[in-house]
Structures are given as structure tokens and as C-alpha cells.
Amino acid sequence: MNRKIVLSVPADINYLATVESFAELLIKRFELSEEERTAFSRRLRITLNEAFVNVLKHTPVPENALVEIEFEIDTPELVIRFPDWGKGVAIDGCYPPYPQKLIGSDHLFLKTIDGEVHFSVESDRVLKLWFKDFAENLNPDNLLENVSEGGMGLSIIVKTMDEARFVWDEERGHYLEIRKHLGNFK
């Protein structure tokens, strides 16, 4: 059964704890063991935190705006959409809709201590984010040199959830779409 919940909160960092706490309410909608519930609740909470902060920090928020976070529960999948006020990600100077020549291409988005966040251009309006893991080949001698204070938020979302995409469409504008398949989150 497909159910949709929309959480509408002021685009203000003072509402961050409210957004995070929605994880606890949402988790009750799923039939999970106690262990699964604890693990998923933590992952969902940090995802909501990072995605909300991402909207506030990295897109031009209008005065008195509301962030309308959409939760689509289509068991066993949970889809979360975080709309923002950005134009999307620029690739070679192009914003979505991207030209045909970019479709199928892959791009480095940012680096973290243990890997890289990339995006693949799935269509003229969709970028799929993925994490290239270097954990097995980390050089302990220069770890601190390579670690950055920023950029961890998006990598946390990509690692924690099953799928993450930046999507642009004429109606809704730009948004981050996150998917979690509840059958395999352990």
C-alpha cells in the first residue's frame, strides 16, 4: 500500500531537532524487530539531519520559507524527498535539463577520508549519487592531510541509504530523493 506523509517545517536550523525526531514517529509505521528498529531509527535520524542541513546551507532559502519533506511509504520501500531552492548541480556549466551528451557520464562530486562521492547522469533531469569506497587502501601516513572538515554530510546519506538522487522537474523544482529498502538495511 502506498501512503504519503508531508512534514512541513520552517526553513530554519532551530527546527532541526523536530525534523530528526520525525524518524521515531515514522519508524513505527514499519514492522521491524527491536534490533532492526534501533538500527534503522539511527540511520534515518542522521539522514534527516544531514539532508535538512544540506537544504539550508547549500541552497538559496527564501525568507519565511517552509521545507516540505515528503515521505512515501511503499512497503518495503521508503522514499524521502527533500525539496530545495537550488538550480541543481552544474556539470560543465550546464544545469538540468542536461544535454544529451552528458547522459551516462560519471563525475566526482567530493572527497572524504575514505573515498569519493560521485554522481552518474541517469537522465537529463536525474543524477544518481554513489560512493567509491577506498577504505581497503587507505594510507595511514597521510590520512589527516586528506581529511576535510566538510562534505561528510552527503557521504553519510549515500552510505546510509540505498539510493540517493538529485532530481529536477518543472513542477517541483530541484530535490534530493532518497530510497531505503527496508528488507536489507542491516
Binding site: 542522521i46 539531519n49 544531514e50 589527516l144
Partner: protein, 111 residues
Amino acid sequence: MNYTFEMNKDVLIARIQAKRATVEFAGKFKEDLIKKIDESSNKVVVNLNQCEFVDSSFLGALVAGLKKATMKGGDLKIVGLQHPVQAMFELTRLYRIFDIFENEKDAVESF
């Protein structure tokens, strides 16, 4: 107050006194931590034993503190990770760059 600073011999101790250590005070904490490292000591211990949740902004502040302390020839060590916070250090793999201790005494004596 979300955090305090105190000296134990020549070691600067930062105690986070909040259940959520997040972007709401991460920027100010980073600023104060860097200033304290400059003014007081390059040997730093950050005690997180009251924290149940940390986000990437707060972890970024710890990374900034570690970089500052090591640049001045010292180190920044972490104490008291509750399970959800430990999980964040593992997820981000920051445990690879921080020395992590169970209590302040062990962390202070490790310098």
C-alpha cells in the same frame, strides 16, 4: 552551555554537555576550540560521554581541532563514545585518525 573547557595539568579538556552535538553549536564550538588550542595547550581531550547523537558538522569541528592541535605538535583525543556516536565514527571512518579512550584519565595519561 553546550560545552565547557578546563585544564588538567597541561591538557585542555573540552566536555560536551549536550545530548545532541550538531550544527546548532558546531561552528561556535570549533571557533572556541581553535582559540583555546592557540591560547592554552596543543594537548586536547574532547569528552563526548553525554552525547547520544552527533552530526557531520560537529565531526567537522573535531577534525578542525585535530588539525590545529597536530599542526602545533600536539594531538586531540576523544573520550566516552556512546554506541550511536561510535557508530558515526565508524560510518565516517574518522576512528582512523582519532585516538579514542573510554575515560578522561586514560586519555590525559596517554600524552
